[in-house]
Amino acid sequence: MKIHIAKGRVIDPASQLDAEQDLFIADGKIVARGAAPEGFKADKLIDAAGLIVAPGLVDLSARLREPGFEYRATLESEMQAAMAGGITSLACPPDTDPVLDEPGLVEMLCFRAKKLHCAHVYPVAALTTKLEGKRITEMAELVEAGCVAFSQVNTPLVDTQVLMRAMQYAATFGFRVWLQPIDPFLARAGVAHDGEVASRMGLAGIPVEAETIALETYLSLAKLTGVKLHITRISSAAALACIERARAGGLDVTCDVAVHHLHLCDNDIGYFDPQCYVIPPLRSQRDRAALRAGLASGKINAVCSDHTPVDDDGKQMPFAEAEPGMTGLELLLPLTLKWALEEKQPLLQALARVTAASAGIMGITKGGHLGVGARADVCIFNPDAWRKVTRDSLRSQGKNTPFLGLELPGEVRYTLVEGRVMYSAAA
């Protein structure tokens, strides 16, 4: 199948390209930009006039709920959501049931995902077996099975000796370790940012120090072991300052933020809205402003959806008893665009945070850009169309988002995966 994407505004952050250009696709790859290669005869022409042609989005965290939580979502439903959201590569965290800590499980997940021919799924394996923080996993075999990184997700590794060993072992092979900074003791029983709002509402608080104390530990051990460390889902101004200090000391460390943290803060909990219960918690307005500015300056490298589909039963509970998390695959692009609009960031910069930067963190080279020879993973969208988020508009099985009912910018028109049109919106 040969595809000619005509007259679109091609934005490819990896090559700093933002220009009206044609794109030519053959055999699942991008074969030319600008002029057609000699003898190119398109089977399909996509008229992208007035639309943005960007690399398919690369999401650093999307829970697909398989294996183990199929009642909340399935690979099929969430892959459809990814396609509708323009996401063509995604990393899925290991907090499944069973935990992704064995090569066999990873192979099975990759196999199931591949059969669907939708987004490329890159499993993140557990750093320790069952995420228990005691024994390191068979990292080298897990990488052979298809893992791109190792993580403890929301289950912090308390034993610093095990953590150091795990980092050393990962560093031996040059593997990536992704850690979410949570001090389990300070965060114990907490469900909201420890501040005025939680105090008034009588919700148990999680102080910012629960993030920074763990973060300082991770950064020190990264320096000691030389591991490739990526910090996931930072939520506070103080955490970003810690990372900046470590960088000033010569540490090469990356970090990301969940897209909802760019738009929401603890005030949005309103009247105990369980949709605003997330890990890490929505913090103060000041923190939100710091995250927004940090993303603009590039101190925060990437944005992810932190997609966590939760069914209604899991959310129709008193705040502290509800399941944490928000659905996000279909909101990653709109919310990133909204941030860019509000912060007056050029699209090239904004898209870099969800394509080239996240691909770099995952260590994938074939996706996340539109260079000649790259996988033809493409997202074609109209940045000026505003669409209302409704339960029906979301293809994800998770309808859990406080953005329901709001109009957001950006309408995905086509999503291509390896040169195949996997999603096209009704015009």
Partner: protein, 320 residues
């Protein structure tokens, strides 16, 4: 965001919290409560305001006093009262809160009086009733987690007004475990709304919520300083489980520094009144000599509690 406890025209639809409730409504509740205090003296202790209505006391957390006073209040208003101690029934079999509520609605409930261990649980209930078109059923929060205990806050305000008349000339101290106390949050909200110029909280740092001063209070860690010249002392109950763990070293040490004794009370205004929401831990947060002394108004609080709850229920019944 619509305020879930008010109707579009600003009347009380549910009573969920005192935080954010307008002064006029607080005053109205206290005014309506006043004549109800005499009902207990009558030969026939009944008014027909809730005749034919079913009030469901749904307690997901144990309570004797609050549940009983709600029951008495509802019965004095001629309602049918159904008591459910849910902590020992269906939820332990895995039923969700909203399933339980749906079943009770199907049994014809007109009003829910709910206590729940989770902050915000009555909001979930109120939103569910609205979403399912059952707006005519009202919810009274009888205590949710650490968040609010609005009828307790109201009966405390009633008690203060009874003895002190004018809120705008008072200094009030709230003493004890503010961090875990829904009573403290409701009291502070009501006191500040009603115009008390100085509300103090007295506690060690481990028992105060973060940014507590943002609630409009002055913080004291030294009880002697905090009690100086106060007109009203509002004691909080200290739960025994707080003594284990890292919040407090022992009940003896707590009593020594934060227990209310005659000696410490002598620093307050001469005619200061002492309130306690009960049940009291004598010798932990309050000395028996104070609890049974001339300044204590702890038993009148209980009596006023019935009148205040009657006022709330009758307002909700009239509004819906």
């Amino acid at each position: 965001m619509l305020n879930p406890q008010l109707t579009q025209d600003g009347r009380l639809r549910h009573l969920l919290t005192l935080d954010g409730l307008p002064k006029s409504i607080l005053a109205e509740i206290l005014d309506i409560a006043a004549p109800f205090t005499d009902v207990a003296e009558r030969e026939v202790k009944k008014l027909p305001l809730l005749r034919g209505k079913s009030v469901f006391n749904v307690f997901f957390e144990n309570s004797t006093r609050t549940r009983t006073t709600f029951e008495i209040a509802a019965k004095r208003l001629s309602a049918d009262v159904i008591n459910l101690n849910v902590s020992t029934s269906s939820t332990s079999k895995g039923e969700t809160l909203l399933d339980t509520v749906d079943n009770l609605c199907a049994m014809g409930a007109d009003m829910f009086v709910m206590r729940h261990a989770s902050s915000g649980a009555p909001y979930l209930l109120a939103q569910h009733l609205r979403a399912t078109g059952r707006d005519h059923i009202s919810v009274v929060n009888a205590g949710d987690g650490r968040h609010a205990h609005p009828t307790q806050g109201l009966l405390d305000m009633y008690t203060i007004r009874h003895y002190k008349q004018d809120f705008t000339r008072l200094t009030v101290a709230v003493v004890g475990d503010v961090l875990h106390s829904r009573v403290a949050r409701s009291e502070i909200a009501a006191l500040t709304t009603l115009g008390v110029p100085e509300v103090r909280v007295i506690a060690p740092k481990t028992l105060l919520p973060t940014d507590v001063e943002r609630m409009g209070v002055r913080v004291f860690h030294n009880m002697e300083e905090g009690l100086k010249g106060v007109d009203v002392v509002m004691m909080l109950r200290l739960q025994n489980e707080r003594m284990q763990g890292a919040l407090l070293p022992s009940s003896q040490e707590y009593f020594k520094f934060y227990g209310l004794t005659q000696e410490k009370l002598a620093l307050a205004a001469k005619d200061a009144i002492v309130l306690h929401p009960g049940p009291m831990n004598r010798g932990v947060e309050i000395d028996s000599a104070v609890a049974d002394g001339a300044n204590a108004v702890i038993l009148p609080q209980v009596t006023f509690g019935i009148a205040v709850r009657m006022a709330v229920m009758s307002m909700l019944a009239a509004g819906n």
